[in-house]
Symmetry: C2
Subunit: 171 residues, 2 copies
């Protein structure tokens, strides 16, 4: 992909809504944008937070004020397709569940994962991609992306224990 193509893509990304982007993807595959799928996409892109399948299921499985309810099966099926469509991506595993995040309209970044509180903290660093591009090229590997989890203790958990932290530790 050349530079102007990249620019087109970027412009596209910030212009088209997630739902529209998904509709386009579905269209090219002879698939349909159903109410259920739209409900799921709206729910997921309502805010930029990490999430797992079960969170979405519990939010959409019980009757809702606006969009109708969506079954567990449909949530799973739709998450897979959203991933194929490049709207979301798996960033980590936590509690035996895949953790997703937005991969559309959001800049490339990686994560710290705290071993104490399990919190995911995003960080951006362009050097990493640059190094990876170079290393991949050296190995004749055609890189399409990467997944990087940096494990350790976050600043909050590293601080001298307070009442609040103690409590959490004792669970």
């Amino acid at each position: 992909m050349n530079d102007s193509a990249v620019k087109d893509l970027e412009r596209h990304e910030v212009t088209v809504s997630p739902v529209e982007k998904f509709r386009e993807y579905l269209g090219t595959r002879g698939k349909r944008l159903t109410q259920e799928r739209e409900t799921i996409v709206r729910e997921i892109f309502a805010e930029h937070e990490h999430f797992d399948s079960d969170q979405i299921v519990s939010r959409l499985t019980q009757p809702r004020r606006d969009g109708g309810r969506v079954s567990r099966a449909t949530v799973y099926r739709t998450l897979s397709q959203l991933e194929e469509a490049g709207l979301i991506r798996k960033v980590a595993r936590s509690n035996d569940r895949e953790v997703y995040e937005h991969d559309y309209g959001y800049p490339q970044h990686d994560h710290f994962i705290c071993e104490k509180c399990q919190e995911l903290v995003e960080f951006r660093n362009d050097e990493i991609s640059a190094v990876l591009e170079r290393v991949a090229a050296e190995h004749g590997f055609r890189m399409s992306g990467h997944r990087l989890e940096v494990h350790g203790i976050c600043s909050a958990c590293a601080k001298p224990p307070t009442r609040r932290h103690r409590k959490l530790d004792m669970i």
Copy 2:
């Protein structure tokens, strides 16, 4: 950890066998090095290859010439402990299974994961850890390690398709 401590660790690593290292770990925890555990460690460290739980289970579950057979449950229980002991670590997920590799007596490295053939290819690059150390420090994050998967197409799969590749592609 200072330089001489690092050197001690390295010397230690190449001197003590995986089984001994495991015995040490178990000892400090009031646990025992049983025949089953030793069999598993020997099997795993017989060669430096990536592996998943099921591979070990199938190799040790059926009666064996030397070491006795080991149950599925014990393999799983022991793999967890080997991970805690720092002898092995999870490097990826493939086919819904955790993929492990030796984390003892082997230098730090990361992996390319081919999206076509699923092959894991190791690569070493010291810049990455260096960058991560720095970024972690900037964020007040106390880094203990990282897991990096670089996704894309490996050189073999990227080559112009041969008869052999075509066949594989059509599966």
